[in-house]
């Protein structure tokens, strides 16, 4: 017998037949189908016991109630909390994606101290001792006012503790970032008197005249505004939206009134003029006016006739008259101010002019109108213990009225105006106009302490970072804001054990205060922030801890409000955009992005349309009439007096000719690959323009030119 080809053929066939009859084929086919249906690299949520915990979201001033679904104690989902007095079950995309902040790659995991250009890890004890040592030196030098502090907003007990630390240290240099809440208070202070604030009853108004307020773009308390807007059709209420571009709010409105950027105040005054001339105002309401109503009226009839206003604003004279009549004759009209999200640059002239409309038609403290009432202060801090250094330093005037002036003074001075700076819940190096300038100022301050949870643009400039728990890990009182018709204080509760070596910012402040000893330690005698919170909210603590919230005010406030018209009677100047170029660049607020405080989450960034962000390129909106020489979807170079950027162009007839729109909230540069290096920061292209009379940064945009790249 001879082994030949046929033997090998037999061998091969035998092997094939043997394998075919064996279970290998059947089993591997089955296994590969299971494998492909359950890719092992796809994360699968772990199974376990489901539980729900209630808390309050503090990502924006909306302060919505949230319900966090947990599996075996691990939070997996955030949903809106049903029956919560602000959002009643609703939630926005930032809120539902809130858990991503817990695992953010840019989180600061332990206290960091800068050594040269790099951060080094340091223990909490060493970090607190280091901060106390540095601050002690400043205090010993006799200039405690050289400690400054920038916080996101002046609300809640944590902000209160920062303010208290500064006061007992001896400094009045406490600053907040621009916010709708501060603009509401400033407008109320100008028209009605100090200590008052304004809110809007959007849920009941029958005619909403919005001067650029992005009611469905994240203005005010976003979920509440979404709900109020959604019910508008059922209530047969009208919304007229005045702004230079067809925003989502404008597209959703009954009428969009395009207005030249920065002339909203003039339009409001033009409408006031028609109301006064045609005697459409409420005479009972105007009886409460003082400060020169006649002078104001005369000024309007001279400078703000419909034709003159039409020339300034680009709105037809007949339309101005029509809007004025509709507004004045509406059953429950309300004029709403605060362009975009309401937390960017605003002109006091505009805010006051718009609110004067409310005052004229007599809808103050009436259903569906504007509510004017004293600011709520539910916090009862015990009196501070002040020593002579504290008293002397605190008595000195602030470096400037607002954070913009602080930046300006620090940059302008050769001597350090500020020796040490605390930054909490704010990212001025990204969200202030001319952010490079802000970065330079913060870099110039010898000792910067950041309390950020993330290594963001401002934290990168810090000398030491005392990382805070995220809102999912900490206890805090969160008062509602954003012009909501009722005031609700919610309690944010720790839903999980802190993931990293972070602290509640309240506890960090207590530790610093105790380490500073003397009158400062005496003013902070609480054992922990929790004890402090319970003490300072004692009036509402039972409700806060049991219900999760406390309603401070609800319903229509009683009484009428006095109106002092003197600010407008003096005919303040309208702010002009910086520069000489032909076009105007304006920032756009987009619901899917966040322009102040934290950056938008990776999930939210993913939802941004490619008409806004194409790959890594930011897309600007421009009217085809203005876009001569440019190609739709093509690249262009955008130049403003303070910067140049390469952008993509989107031809859009929904933006007025002569205007370029660029979204806010992109262009982050910190170490989070899901969020950073996407688009550019519009604040790198727009510089601040300080409004005379108010001191506010009122830059509604900047002059710009655009050419093919």
């Amino acid at each position: 017998m001879k082994v030949d080809r046929r033997s090998f053929l037999g061998l091969g066939l035998g092997a094939a037949a043997g394998i075919a009859v064996s279970p290998i084929g059947m089993k591997l086919t089955d296994d590969s189908s299971i494998w492909t249906q359950n890719w092992p690299w796809t994360p699968v949520p772990v199974d376990g016991e489901v539980s729900y915990e209630n808390s309050v979201c503090s990502l924006c001033p909306g302060s919505c109630g949230i319900s966090i679904r947990k599996i075996d104690g691990r939070p997996v989902k955030i949903e809106g909390l049903a029956d919560y007095p602000i959002n009643d079950g609703g939630a926005c995309l930032h809120g539902i994606a809130g858990l991503q902040y817990l695992y953010d790659p840019a989180r600061v995991k332990t206290p960091l101290k800068k050594n040269g250009d790099k951060f080094e890890e340091i223990s909490w004890d060493d970090a607190i001792a280091y901060v106390a040592d540095k601050l002690g030196d400043i205090r010993k030098s006799g200039a405690p006012e050289k400690l400054a502090c920038i916080v996101g907003k002046d609300q809640g007990s944590v902000s209160g503790l920062f303010k208290r630390l500064l006061k007992t240290f001896g400094s009045s240099n406490f600053y907040t970032m621009p916010s709708l809440e501060s603009y509401l208070e400033l407008t109320a202070a100008t028209l009605h008197g100090e200590g008052e604030t304004i809110s809007f009853d959007l849920e009941n108004a029958s005619f909403v005249l919005s001067f650029g307020a992005g009611i469905i773009e994240g203005w005010g308390s976003p979920v509440n505004c979404f709900k109020a807007n959604a019910s508008r059709k059922q209530r047969h209420a009208k919304l007229y939206q005045i702004e230079p571009r067809l925003s989502n709010t404008a597209a959703n409105a009954d009428k969009w009134i395009p207005v030249k950027p920065g002339t909203e105040a003039d339009l409001a005054l033009g409408i006031c003029a028609v109301i006064l001339k045609n005697k459409l105002f409420d005479s009972t309401a105007t009886a409460n006016f003082k400060g020169g109503l006649n002078k104001f009226g005369a000024l309007l009839q001279k400078d703000y006739t419909p034709s003159k206003t039409a020339e300034i604003t680009g709105v037809k004279a007949s339309d101005i008259e029509k809007i004025a009549i509709l507004f004045a004759k509406a059953k429950m009209p309300v004029a709403v101010f605060g362009k975009g999200r309401g937390d960017g640059a605003q002109s006091l002239k505009e805010l006051v002019a718009v609110h004067t409309l409310n005052c004229l038609v007599g809808n103050i403290n009436k259903k569906g109108g504007a509510f004017v009432q004293p600011k709520t202060n539910y916090l009862e801090f015990p009196d501070e213990s002040m020593d002579s250094i504290a008293g002397k330093g605190f008595g000195k005037t602030k470096i400037g009225p607002y954070v913009n002036q602080l930046v300006e003074r620090v940059n302008a001075s050769s001597e350090p105006v500020v020796e040490a700076l605390f930054v909490y819940n704010a990212n001025p190096c990204h969200s202030l106009h001319d952010s490079k300038n802000a970065k330079q100022a913060i870099g110039k301050i010898p000792f910067v302490v950041s309390f950020s949870s993330f290594l963001d643009e401002t934290a990168m400039e810090a000398d030491i970072i005392l990382p805070s728990h995220t809102f999912i890990e900490r206890l805090e009182d969160v008062p509602s804001g954003g012009g909501l018709a009722k005031t609700v204080v919610g309690l944010t509760k720790p839903i999980v054990e802190p993931l990293f070596n972070t602290k509640n910012p309240g506890d960090a402040i207590l530790l610093i205060a105790k380490a500073l000893e003397g009158n400062i330690a005496k003013s902070f005698e609480w054992e922990s922030y929790e004890e402090c919170l319970e003490g300072v909210t004692s009036g509402i603590w039972d409700s806060l801890s049991e219900e999760g919230f406390a309603i401070i005010s609800e319903g229509i406030p009683s009484g009428s409000a006095k109106v002092n018209i003197s600010f407008l009677a003096k005919n303040p100047l309208t702010v002009q955009a910086q520069g000489d170029f032909a076009l105007t660049l304006i920032p756009i607020d987009n619901m899917r992005l966040i322009s102040a405080g934290v950056a938008a989450s990776p999930f939210a960034i993913k939802t941004v349309s490619d008409k806004v962000l194409m790959g890594r390129d930011i897309v600007v909106e421009i009217n085809p009439l203005t876009a001569k020489g440019l190609k739709d979807g093509g690249s262009a170079t955008l130049t403003t007096p303070i910067g140049t950027a390469r952008v993509k162009v989107n031809f859009d007839e929904g933006i007025m000719p002569g205007v370029i729109g660029m979204v806010e909230g992109l262009g982050h540069t910190f170490d989070n690959k899901y969020v950073s290096n996407k688009g550019i920061n519009v604040n790198d292209l727009i510089g601040p323009v300080i409004e005379s009379g108010s001191g506010l940064d009122a830059a509604f945009g900047i002059k710009a030119k655009i050419s093919k790249a």
Partner: protein
């Protein structure tokens, strides 16, 4: 006949003779081929049946031995440890907290396994990383409560007599899918003698057909 023709005939005769001789040789060659075939067939069939499962499954020991019989005897039923939550979901293998309803940091018994349990897990407050013999792939939804409470099935129908075992058997993990061997069944051909021998989709369908008259729809389990 011409010379050429003769040559041709001779040639053909020769070639015919060679051909015959060749056929005889081929028969022998075929015989060897058959032997090769059979050898290869048997070798491959046996490796596919005996060796392949050994390669496909990796063997893993449980963290320590668990005596079901002892525990079931102490508690009297399965539900004490494997309970259904208020929302109807099944707890599966109990968490450490459930064990601690009876156990403490002091060992309850004298076995080595009890010592491992208390030292490694109870005192360190660490969950025991049990391998689950009956875990279905993630693409499968299964409700215990619908079967045990609504349909009144007993645990044994699917899980067999694990409640009577005195020690934990070796867990075999499919290297390709990562799931337990128990889903396909111990028998590599998929032959089963008892209802609990195999837990593939067809097994669900057969029982559903018998009990409800319909094998069920895809989305009922693959949501």
């Amino acid at each position: 006949m011409s010379e050429i023709e003769n040559k041709a005939e001779n040639g053909s005769t020769e070639s015919a003779g060679e051909c015959t001789a060749g056929e005889a040789k081929d028969d022998k060659g075929l015989g060897l081929g058959v032997i090769f075939f059979i050898v290869a067939f048997v070798a491959c069939f046996l490796s596919g049946t005996l060796l392949f499962p050994k390669l496909l499954y990796s063997k893993k020991e449980q963290p320590f031995n668990f005596d079901h019989e002892l525990h079931a005897g102490e508690t009297g039923d399965c539900e004490t440890c494997h309970s259904v939550r208020e929302d109807g979901s099944f707890t599966g293998i109990p968490k450490l907290a459930t064990c601690l309803d009876c156990h403490t940091e002091e060992p309850l018994g004298e076995t080595e396994d009890e010592a491992v349990f208390t030292e490694e897990y109870v005192s360190k407050e660490k969950e025991v990383p049990w391998y689950v013999y009956s875990r279905q792939p993630d693409s499968v939804f299964f409700s215990h409560v619908a079967h045990t409470q609504a349909a009144g099935m007993d645990c044994v129908s699917c899980h067999g007599h694990i409640g009577e075992s005195t020690s934990s058997r070796v867990y075999e993990e499919n290297r390709l899918t990562g799931y337990s061997r128990d889903i396909w069944g111990k028998n590599i051909f998929g032959i089963k003698k008892h209802s609990w021998d195999r837990m593939k989709m067809d097994d669900c369908a057969v029982c559903h057909k018998e009990e409800t008259g319909h094998q069920g729809y895809c989305f009922q389990c693959h949501k």
